[in-house]
Amino acid sequence: MDFLFEPFQHAFMQRALVACVVIGFLNGFLGAFVVLRRMALMADSLSHSLLPGLAVGVLLFNLAPLGLFVGALSAALMVALGAQILARGSRVKEDTALGVLYTVAFSAGVVLLHFVKVRVSLMHYLFGNILGVSNQDLWVGYGVALAVLPLLVALERPLQLLLFDPAVARSQGIRTGLLNVVLVVALVLTMVSSLQAVGVILLLGLLISPAATVYLLCDSFPVMLWGGGVLGMIGAVTGLWLSYWIGVPSGACIVLVLGAFFCLAYLFSPRYGYIPQLIKSRHFHEESLARWNDHGHGH
């Protein structure tokens, strides 16, 4: 048992544990929307666009968490909005517009961080460090979770309609444009709160892997939301624990654990897994062969 609990005797590990529970759940929960709305590219772009916002935040407010929070939030929202405007006003499609904008934003972030006087490492923002989570970071996490989760739960039905059938959602009077904005803002808030833990590059894994895993296991929208949350939490805590014993970076370890969950579901999910489907199709083949033989064709 000591083996299980020993890591969490240190104060920094306790904070990291709480952070894993909060942001693991939050990301896993939100991931369902990203997977079903096919927003993975959008989410990746947004996470990368946090970087210039962070750099400006550091330049203007030093390392104050609130300054970083506001900086990252506005940078990501600017890229999201900019892509919409570019896509509407020209023949360029939204994914292309996002691709152009987010790489520009990311590069601007790298250049800006070069001029920052405070000693901050680029690596820190790229890959995060959950062991360096401060109490203030935790408060940001709680705040975002308290704002985002109840809102998404309350909007579950309209969101489900929007994801499944946007035309019918609109014909039922749902303001799909507004709902989209709510979704993007919730996404960016979640990302900003997870930044310290996993960094801008690994954010996407924490966000979509749990939801993608549960997507392979169930046929229920609510189960996908809550199941994704629980799986994200379990994966984050497991990853943190493993990283302590193996002595490797925690963010990467968390994403690897979540990736392993996904692989297991991909291979063994009873309904949609690769291997059960392979067995099923062979079974059908044999059955139809037997039927063919029964009808006297088999000689």
């Binding site: 309609l161 499944f164 059938d165 035309a167 014909s171």
Partner: protein, 248 residues
Amino acid sequence: MSHHSLEVRDLTVSYRRIPAIHHLDFSVPCGQSVAVLGPNGAGKSTLLKAIAGLVDLESGGVLFHGKRMSGASQEFAYLPQREMVDWDFPTTVRGVVEMGRYLSLRWWKRFSTSDEAAVESALESMQLTPLQDRQISALSGGQQQRVFLARALAQEAHVLLLDEPFTGLDQPSMESLREVLRTLRSQGKLLLISHHDLSSVQDTFDRVILLNGELIADGPVKETFTRQNLERTYGMRVFSGLSHGLPI
């Protein structure tokens, strides 16, 4: 005529300032099944979407039972083309039919017994009860179309706007869908259906609306579905392209 009917008055819808449908005026009584016919780009889908409140109207409006409709309404159900929907969505037949109750339920309330009853009877009348727990991608095209219809029934809609429901169905599925539509019509529903297979019009519909950007003709199949009207509908180039010099 103004009661128990759907009236479309002076309806114009434009995309990027090019009109897709142009000053349409017609009226159809309830309890009828109506084919919306016309060549590609004639504005069939646009007409259905305009009635459903999905696109902005440039002029005119829609009256139902003599009342002007604006925005979303429980009375109207739009059934999109099958390929517009993500069939891998994690939900079951029953889950989709329950979505029909969302509008009347508001989004925070729990399902009441009357909601449950509406869902049950919708499943029952579309013969989906045995399939209710099935994931929606594990259905045939005809069954998927019946799921959409069941959702519209659960919504208790009176006007059903179906966008190309027969496309991609095999012969037996088409026949059973036709049967289902007949039943709905006899229950007093008004069915507006965009359609492109001219050979099946006489067996399936009571009325036709012939459309080519503008209204060519509308009325009962026997009187309106004539060679002359069809030539006028399909024989000329699509209105919006023609008058704006676009290649078709």
